[in-house]
Symmetry: C2
Subunit: 150 residues, 2 copies
């Protein structure tokens, strides 16, 4: 029998919202949103990325990301360049300041995660991550949401 408060989507959202709220509060003094932090952390991980790739990773609309990266660029935390061999795409990179900020914030993320999973074993955490990845891949990406065959 179905109960909203026992359903996976609901529990997922509830946990996700709360963890994001806590992290948002911690990074608010640096005027960063969670999405901004993810962009920075992603660039730290991959060194560079296009807007589209970043949008996929961060799970936000590319239009939102365009503006968000614009803000980060204004603050000199990232750089944007259009390569000469491809004038369509934009390559985003961390600036030294962006990298320094990211390195300063990452320990907060680590600590938050430790708090969240404090009473779980390593195996439980691993199983959780596996389940989260599975659910993501079991569901279709909503690309051009209204896109119809033509």
């Amino acid at each position: 029998m179905y109960k909203l408060t026992d359903s996976v989507p609901y529990l997922l959202n509830r946990a996700g919202v709360r963890i994001a709220e806590v992290f948002a509060q911690r990074i608010a003094e640096d005027n960063l949103s969670v999405a901004m932090y993810r962009v920075l952390a992603m660039l730290k991980e991959r060194r560079e990325s296009t807007l589209g790739d970043l949008a996929d990773v961060v799970s936000v609309e590319i239009s939102t990301l365009s503006r968000l990266v614009g803000t980060l660029a204004k603050r000199k935390l990232v750089s944007r360049t259009r390569p000469e061999d491809n004038g369509r795409i934009v390559i985003v990179r961390l600036t030294p300041q962006g990298e320094a900020l990211t390195e300063r914030l990452m320990p907060l993320a680590v600590e938050l995660e430790r708090t969240a999973v404090q009473d779980m074993s390593d195996e439980e955490v691993a199983a959780l991550k596996k389940a989260l990845r599975r659910m993501h891949s079991n569901l279709p990406a909503i690309s051009g949401k209204g896109k119809v065959a033509n």
Copy 2:
């Protein structure tokens, strides 16, 4: 070593966003958002609720919920009443039409969840839910986010 794309908050968000996107698409033809569905499903479960309780359950700001419930009320899907014995609170209930709509949509939610966890055993799903509940309770609620001791 920390990697954004292997962290629990990131994976949680990614799975949650995707599952919400898919469900949003399915209920879009009824002009409902996911939050609206959750309000309806919650009322189906509890029969009635105050705004504040609903906000907790649905994980949205009470101001957002106030307007959202207003919209649902305009569509005659819920009713709002201030009890005589307590003029502060508002009791929200499903109307018959709201109940009918909810009953029609719940199977979609069930099917979505089945798709999401399709390759997981019952034990794995149970462990996942437990982990999601634990994380939620391991983290503090951000009530009055800017509230300072006074």
